[in-house]
Symmetry: C2
Subunit: 338 residues, 2 copies
DNA sequence: ATTAACGGTGCAACCGGTTGTACAACCGCG
DNA sequence: CGCGGTTGTACAACCGGTTGCACCGTTAAT
């Protein structure tokens, strides 16, 4: 049996069926004010009848848009998928785009080969816009995008804002998040605070710490600031380190919920009750936060909303909007660990 | 400051710079045998000089291909990302496509809205081919794809093979995997086997069980077959269930490595040694397999290779190849739990 | 010397839409 | 009755490539 590859109906066939010209058919389907209601109705009926759907390729060439947005990621796919932070952010982007007719393509850029490939696609004008999920200063690809004039949204603050006047930026206000967490500690009357942050060179970590300090001052001494990785094991170790010093503390600010989970485990093992003896506050509002015992008070980073915002800004820029910078607000999620 | 949106050079400019016609320029860049070496060299030099890169939209329209392949997934993005099985398969696809100039788009189809959107894109001919990661019988989208004649690759066997003559299929031979696991048990001299599978309605589960039975016969009695979920907790519970029956057993065949991890924990808690008292074999060769104590003997499903294969078949079908069915082979990974 | 064969190139059509502009039909007006 | 102004439609160009076919000049065969 031969395949029933019904070749798709073109605008010309619709026009013929409706007894009008191609241009009139096009305008009628695009609801141009220059076409009479009568004709529009006839053309629409004809289109329905022959099952017409405008061909993406033809349309793309005519209007100069592919209706595709690239999401540029530096991480390899496996890491990208295993990190729930990314997955929620990406969901936000696709969710928002699904309201429009736009599609998103995940474009990896971890190896040189991948970066060259990405560059090639940029030069071909395969995409109407690019959302860079983890931009870094001095990236050659950003340079290319700038030269090509491709609308670009950076997710995350670049120190020195080297592209501020060309690209849009979306980021969460980490300093504000630090404020919220620290204020909660203060309100609860905690006076001897320990901070178990992530890696020292991470800009988010720096901003959060600034937020903590602005509120707590002397209640968070330098000696109590510990830089680690993001995992529960890191939190666990950090607490052991603190306990070994045999100094009193009544609150722990954590750089991630996973760190906090490890912190709580270590405290419990040491016979310290949370929150009776020690208060713990996390960061991220990761799924794990609700599964901690006690459930973790944490700072929510609006990742999904950030994705929405990034997508919307990209769409606006495609329509010609100027680059903007958009700061998302953190939120304290009150649970039982404080 | 105005943006430096250098408008991209077109073929016409290259042709002018090389002193030839547009058609000759096109043929020269596409290495047509009808053009002399001399001319090709001149055109290539001109192209390099003006930084010419063929425009994706124009090309797509002319050649009738978008150079985009859609990966259709039924799961919501969050699940997709959290399941390492998918992530490896998807990596395989993008890895293979990155050798070509093709891009892949992840197209979700869990809600009705998403399915309508997918359908619309299919009708617009936005994609040259579709890879359906989790096809199910009676899917309306498959029906649409068949009608439209879009090259499609199904990942997983559909019972009754309703589309065999139209779509290609790639799947791992689960029955063979069952064979391998069971044979290993037999070789080790295990006679009283328990099977802790996944959900009863899962086709992979059915096939694996068939493989087990063909080898073990009476050594795997019906009463010893337990259907559960895929997680470690399920394996843990299943063993407790078996232990409660107070019947002897010396081997456990597991439907996933996560199940096996739970099984091993339960056995150890019950004072049974693995592999001295009881042998355990998993399935998937998940990362967790190497972290079990003892390290888990398991059946490896070549997910990455399956992704490669799916991508290649899709590319071949785009070039006009007939639909094929491709079966990937399982492999027993010997570790210490047997 | 005439012609067939052939390699190399350009013209023009085409892919499937959108859009600037010309034009025809109709209106009301002086 | 002829005019300008509206309204609705069609013609044709255009987006940026690819490709069938005609045509040119050259060489070899008759």
């Amino acid at each position: 049996m031969t395949q029933p590859v019904r070749t798709a109906p073109t605008l010309a066939e619709v026009a013929a069926a409706a007894g009008v010209s191609r241009s009139t058919a096009s305008r009628a389907l695009n609801d141009s004010p220059r076409i009479s209601e009568e004709t529009k109705k006839r053309v629409r009926a004809a289109a329905k009848k022959v099952n017409f759907v405008p061909n993406a390729r033809g349309r793309a060439l005519a209007v100069g848009r592919t209706e595709i947005i690239a999401v540029l990621v530096t991480e390899p796919l496996s890491e990208l998928f295993s990190d729930p932070t990314y997955s929620e952010f990406l969901s936000g982007i696709t969710e928002e785009l699904s309201e429009s007719s736009y599609l998103s393509v995940i474009l990896q850029a971890s190896s040189t080969h991948e970066r060259n490939r990405a560059r090639e696609h940029f030069e071909r004008r395969s995409f109407d816009a690019v959302i860079d999920v983890s931009p870094y200063k001095g990236s050659e690809l950003l340079e290319v995008l700038r030269e090509l004039g491709v609308p670009t949204v950076l997710c995350g603050q670049l120190e020195g804002h080297p592209y501020r006047d060309v690209f849009s930026t979306v980021y969460s206000d980490d300093e504000e998040g630090g404020h919220f967490a620290a204020l909660a500690m203060k309100k609860r009357g905690r006076k001897d605070i320990v901070a178990v942050l992530g890696p020292q060179d991470n800009p988010a970590v720096v901003d959060r710490l600034r937020g903590y300090r602005a509120v707590l001052g002397e209640d968070l001494p330098d000696a109590n600031v510990i830089y680690t990785g993001w995992n529960s094991g890191d939190g666990y170790q950090a607490i052991h380190q603190i306990l070994a010093r045999e100094m009193a503390f009544d609150g722990v600010l954590c750089g991630s919920d996973r760190i906090a989970a490890g912190v709580i485990t270590a405290l419990n093992e040491a016979g310290l009750s949370v929150p009776a003896d020690v208060s713990v506050v996390g960061f991220d509002d990761h799924e794990i936060a609700t599964r901690c015992v006690p459930a973790l008070t944490t700072v929510r980073q609006p990742l999904r909303e950030e994705g929405h915002m990034a997508a919307n800004i990209a769409l606006d820029m495609i329509k010609g909007a100027e680059p903007t910078t958009s700061v998302m607000h953190m939120q304290l999620i009150q649970r039982d660990s404080l």
